[in-house]
């Protein structure tokens, strides 16, 4: 017989950051309080500092060469694997979404299911995107001329709020399926599903550093992100119009590509973070 004592002490989860495949606390040691939809204290996730952002960018840059050189098939498989594991962790995410977003069990369950399907949908794009977006171009000279989309580099993502898991998964999958690496700043009031999803990424054969997750204040991190010379693009969906404007100004220094999305499921989320490379190949040599 297994007997659980009535006064068993709760074992609560520590929500930490996800940087370079590891789960460190913020180097600053700070946390912030997250409340559930009824205003009760729920958890103390890390309040990431600019130095955590810096470390995450170093990890993402380091992972870029390997991830962008992996075959499209391999990247698709890993995204699909993430979908499998997300399916298995459904119950935990449903509970977190119900508490945080105040949604009914039905709505929360639907959001998780839709997130799983969304991952599978993006996984499928991995080996098709260059066929759809690439082209052979007619030119008036003895050349084969073709254009092909390539990943842009390190992308920072300010994930949009509700539905927080769906937005997070859509943003991450769209950016990374093409070979980009990402630093994701989870929506400030909804960091818990993001960190739980990071635990899924950590166990799904995703190479360390490809996706890094920070929790904390977007108003604190946005200026450092926008001016960071080693970030190539920003998905600014989670920023306010004022923050977006400031990011666009600061991001001009290295011609950062800054985009905003309203749709979780669209090939634009892939193509916005790719650059077209055109090759001229001589005929008859």
């Amino acid at each position: 017989m297994i007997a659980v004592p009535a006064n068993r002490i709760d074992v609560l989860k520590t929500y930490k950051l996800f940087i370079g495949g590891a789960f460190p606390r913020s180097e600053s040691g700070r946390v912030y309080s997250i409340k559930d939809s009824k205003g009760n204290h729920l958890a103390n996730p890390s309040l990431a500092s600019r130095k955590d952002l810096r470390d995450a960018v170093v990890a993402a840059r380091g992972a870029f060469a390997g991830w962008s050189a992996a075959t499209a098939y391999n990247r698709g498989q890993i995204l699909y694997r993430m979908a499998e594991l997300l399916e298995g962790r459904s119950a935990q995410l449903v509970a977190e979404l119900m508490a945080l977003e105040g949604s009914t069990k039905k709505l929360a369950t639907d959001q998780v299911k839709e997130s799983v399907d969304l991952l599978v949908w993006y996984a499928g794009w991995s080996d098709k995107i260059s066929t759809i977006a690439g082209s052979t171009n007619p030119v008036s000279g003895p050349y084969y001329n073709f254009s092909t989309p390539e990943p842009i580099g390190v992308v920072a993502i300010f994930a949009d709020a509700k539905p927080s898991l769906l937005n997070f998964v859509g943003a991450v999958a769209g950016v990374c399926v093409s070979g980009n690496t990402a630093v994701v700043i989870a929506a400030e009031p909804f960091p818990l599903p993001a960190i739980t999803f990071a635990e899924i990424m950590a166990t799904s054969d995703l190479p360390a550093g490809v996706i890094n997750v920070l929790t904390g204040s977007s108003s604190e991190l946005a200026p450092w992100t926008a001016s960071h010379m080693d970030i190539d693009a920003i998905d600014a969906s989670g920023l306010t119009p004022k923050q977006l404007k400031e990011a666009q100004i600061a991001g001009a220094a290295n011609l950062k590509r800054i985009r905003v999305h309203t749709d979780a499921k669209t090939p634009e989320r892939i193509l916005n973070y790719m650059e077209t490379k055109t090759v001229w190949h001589p005929i008859g040599i």
């Binding site: 810096r54 960018v57 450092w224 001016s227 960071h228 010379m229 080693d230 220094a253």
Partner: protein, 311 residues
């Protein structure tokens, strides 16, 4: 004179050296590594680290083109910022010394010395005749600093006299034409006691610098090893009034690593050693990281490796 020429007197001197407290050294070196260096001190430390660098390329794939490129970088680490100091020296294999010397002279780097690794670097496994020739080739080609390796096989078998005699002979070859740095290859010396012994042995034999590693063996310039070597030069100074330099090399890749080294120097050997004349850092990738940190401090935002040279 601390010892006479006999192996016996060398052995009995090395026996008198106190044993290293391994746990204590590890703890103190780690504690010094946590010291926080900020703003103006950090800016000073970055420039000091740059001026102490032996910018190194020791690859089988080295070409004259690559050596010319690092020489250019040695003189002017970042062409967009003239306030950055030149590095301490350029360190190459001996067949590249001529290229490096000529290039430096042509581009205004005549004050930057060329250091050459010698004596069958990195293993040191060759006859003395070969090692001597190796050294002479480098000196004749214009090397002003010779980085020799000790015979670790002889050292570990207790044939200290052999190791000693070899350093003495190479020092004679260097004469007043070249400084002698003696590489202990601490990664192969197993214990910190051996590091202390080898440090004294090299200093007694006439080394101008003692250097941790070739960079080809891991672990290389770990903090406890550098700590023990800095203690050795400090104590040797109080015995002889002669200051010997220290050069950690291998595994120092980030600004943080470099600043930790400077903290060790200041706290263990003393501020007199905070000069390129007495402390050098052997590295290659480190320079880019120092430049990136410098840009961050200058501009107020994070820099990108895309804006420094690939080497």
């Amino acid at each position: 004179m601390i010892i006479d020429a006999s192996e016996g007197s060398l052995k009995s001197f090395l026996k008198t050296l106190p044993q290293v407290d391994e746990v204590g050294v590890h703890a103190r070196a780690a504690m010094l590594g946590t010291r926080s260096i900020k703003t103006t001190s950090k800016a000073w430390a970055i420039d000091m680290a740059i001026s102490m660098m032996d910018l190194t390329t020791l690859e089988g794939a080295d070409t004259p083109g690559k050596v010319r490129a690092i020489c250019a970088k040695a003189v002017r680490p970042d062409a967009t910022d003239l306030s950055i100091p030149s590095v301490g020296a350029v360190c190459v294999y001996n067949d590249m010394v001529g290229v490096a010397r000529r290039t430096l002279d042509q581009i205004g780097g005549s004050s930057i010395p060329v250091a050459a690794v010698a004596t069958a670097f990195p293993s040191g496994r060759a006859s003395y005749a070969v090692k001597a020739q190796d050294t002479m080739d480098a000196i004749n080609a214009g090397a002003a600093e010779i980085d020799m390796v000790i015979d670790r096989g002889a050292f570990l078998s207790g044939r200290y006299g052999e190791v000693f005699a070899e350093i003495v002979k190479i020092k004679e070859l260097c004469g007043d034409k070249a400084h002698l740095k003696v590489i202990l290859e601490t990664g192969e010396l197993v214990t910190l006691d051996n590091v202390r012994k080898a440090s004294y042995l090299a200093m007694l034999a006439g080394a101008d610098f003692i250097k941790t590693s070739t960079g080809k063996v891991v672990p290389a310039a770990s903090a406890p090893v550098v700590y023990v070597m800095l203690e050795a030069v400090r104590d040797y100074y109080s015995m002889t009034q002669t200051r010997i330099g220290v050069k950690p090399a291998g595994g120092i890749r980030t600004t943080k690593d470099a600043i930790k080294q400077l903290v060790l120097v200041n706290e263990v050997a003393g501020p007199e050693w905070l000069s390129p004349r007495l402390f050098r850092i052997g590295a290659s990738a480190l320079l880019n990281d120092l430049l990136l940190q410098r840009m961050k401090m200058r501009d107020g935002y994070y820099a990108s490796p895309a804006y420094v040279t690939l080497d």
